[in-house]
């Protein structure tokens, strides 16, 4: 297993696409600065009655889709690039145990996703709080120790996206199809679900992958947003949210493993 892990790690770090995706994921920190700065300037100009009506999604939640998307695509590419080039055959000739190959890839992209995700989330948090200073921005005032569990869970969700992307790439054997599926899981399906008639918008929305980090730690924010990509529902108790998150790792990987074993390479 060690040999497989080190081989997959070498593959991941020996292509430029990996560095490009990590760089774009890290650009969330820059985006956080670019979005927070004008908000801070605007805040300072507003009279108290306007500030009282001010609402804001915590910036690290608002921007976590950037690393989620990038690492989801990284997961897709880790396997779809092998199908696109035909490299999958030499890979499986060297390692006939296909499940081992999938597991090693999952571990490697999951680890890359976790490190990148945590770095991007903590970076966006740090940069936005530094700019906001001691201004009483709604949802942006709690200190780091209080936010820590949620920030860690947001970073973790990035790793889960990487693994889901890998499974989708392995199942579709196509970069285009895999990326479309990642975008569907990240944006398209959650947005459609948010427009379902109640209570189904909340019940189904609760199991959408982007909605899980806040539910994992029982965090609730009143942002007034109930539809669209930044609507967040709070429905599942943390225990159930963790179970659903685990299912997002296990179910797609298991499906990909079955397909990988059954199909001719």
């Amino acid at each position: 297993m060690n040999a497989l892990l080190s081989a997959e790690w070498l593959k991941l770090r020996s292509v430029r696409s990996t560095y490009a995706l990590v760089a774009v994921a890290a650009s969330a920190v820059l985006l956080a600065a670019l979005l927070t700065w004008p908000a801070v300037v605007a805040w300072d100009r507003q009279p108290p009655e306007v500030r009282a009506r001010w609402q804001g999604i915590p910036i690290e939640q608002y921007l976590v889709f950037v690393p989620q998307l990038c690492m989801g695509v990284l997961g897709v590419l880790a396997v779809s690039s092998e199908y696109a080039t035909g490299l999958i055959r030499p890979t499986l000739v060297a390692v006939p145990g296909r499940i081992g190959v999938l597991a090693a890839k999952a571990a490697v992209v999951g680890a890359a996703g976790l490190v990148t995700g945590e770095a991007a989330v903590f970076g966006t948090f740090a940069v936005s709080r530094a700019l906001i200073g001691d201004r009483p921005f709604p949802n942006h005032t709690s200190p780091l120790p209080e936010e820590l569990p949620l920030l860690l869970c947001l970073g973790l969700s990035v790793a889960v996206f990487a693994v889901v992307g890998l499974a989708l790439g392995a199942a579709t054997r196509s970069t285009a199809a895999g990326v479309v599926c990642v975008v569907a899981v990240l944006f398209v399906i959650p947005v459609i679900v948010s427009y379902l008639p109640g209570p189904w918008n909340v019940r189904v929305g609760a199991v959408m992958l982007p909605d899980l980090p806040t539910q994992l730690v029982g965090a609730v924010f009143d942002t007034g947003i109930t539809t669209g990509p930044w609507a967040r529902v709070a429905f599942l108790p943390p225990g159930w949210a963790w179970a659903v998150l685990a299912a997002y790792v296990v179910a797609p990987l298991a499906a990909a493993a079955v397909l990988l074993r059954r199909r001719d390479a």
């Binding site: 040999a3 497989l4 080190s6 081989a7 997959e8 070498l10 593959k11 020996s14 292509v15 430029r16 696409s17 690039s81 092998e82 080039t85 035909g86 490299l87 999958i88 055959r89 030499p90 890979t91 499986l92 000739v93 060297a94 390692v95 006939p96 145990g97 001719d264 390479a265």
Partner: protein
């Protein structure tokens, strides 16, 4: 040794390989011939455990490929020289393959020297010519110093010096007692390299015999091959 026994492989309604049986023995170069779509590549993929046979079996040294641990130390294969990530360097490509079978960077560096890629190995493969990719694919096949080699069209894209090099390489590997299965459409090259021929057509065995028995003195392999694989009346007449 490679043994193909009653191998059948169907893709949907298409039968790619139809009750094929033959044995590839060590110590000689066995040429694997057949028209496009005859089932050569399918047979090789089944041997390597990439495709599952519909029925029958393919064994390497008496074992199914999937049951071999560290398979690169037993079997080396070149199926498609373009099966490399274009953005990865040749060196990293070989190192990643080698690591899965416990093959270290020294062996990789030595092989790159042997196949004449030492100078280009740090370049990304997208900058490689077809001939360089063939050399990289041959290096990948030789990684684990295997006793069984299967090469699908390794000569394509090589320059005359490269063609002569691979001919000598395959002949010396066979002389060392290894099993070498070589597929190619280049009849003149096959005539110079192979000792034994397996010819298939439409997924079935057409010929399995030593080169000297198949090709009479003064005759050409090309004539024999075209007669054996001709469709319809010509083939019936040839029988």
């Amino acid at each position: 040794m490679i043994e193909i026994r009653d191998l059948v492989k169907r893709y949907g309604r298409t039968t790619a390989v139809d009750r094929l049986s033959f044995t590839v023995r060590p110590g000689r170069v066995t040429g694997f011939l057949g028209p496009n779509g005859a089932g050569k590549s399918t047979t090789m993929r089944v041997v390597l455990g990439l495709d599952a046979p519909t029925s029958g079996e393919a064994l390497v040294d008496g074992r199914r490929y999937a049951s071999i641990r560290g398979p690169l130390h037993h079997v080396g294969a070149l199926l498609d020289a373009s099966a490399v990530h274009p953005g990865r360097s040749g060196y990293d490509h070989l190192r990643a393959l080698g690591r899965t079978n416990g093959i270290g960077p020294r062996r990789v560096a030595g092989l790159l020297e042997e196949v004449g890629l030492a100078g280009a190995a740090r370049k990304r493969v997208k900058e490689f010519s077809l001939g360089m990719r063939q050399r990289l694919g041959i290096a990948a096949a030789l990684l684990g110093d295997p006793a069984v080699l299967m090469l699908d069209e390794p000569v394509n894209g090589l320059d005359p010096e490269g063609v002569r090099w691979i001919r000598g390489l395959l002949r010396s590997l066979a002389a060392e007692g290894r099993t070498v299965l070589l597929s190619s459409h280049l009849m003149s090259e096959m005539e110079l390299t192979a000792d034994h021929l397996v010819i298939i057509d439409g997924g079935r065995l057409v010929a399995d015999s030593p080169m000297r028995d198949l090709v009479p003195d003064g005759g050409s392999l090309e004539d024999v091959y075209l007669r054996l694989t001709a469709r319809g009346p010509a083939r019936e007449a040839a029988r």
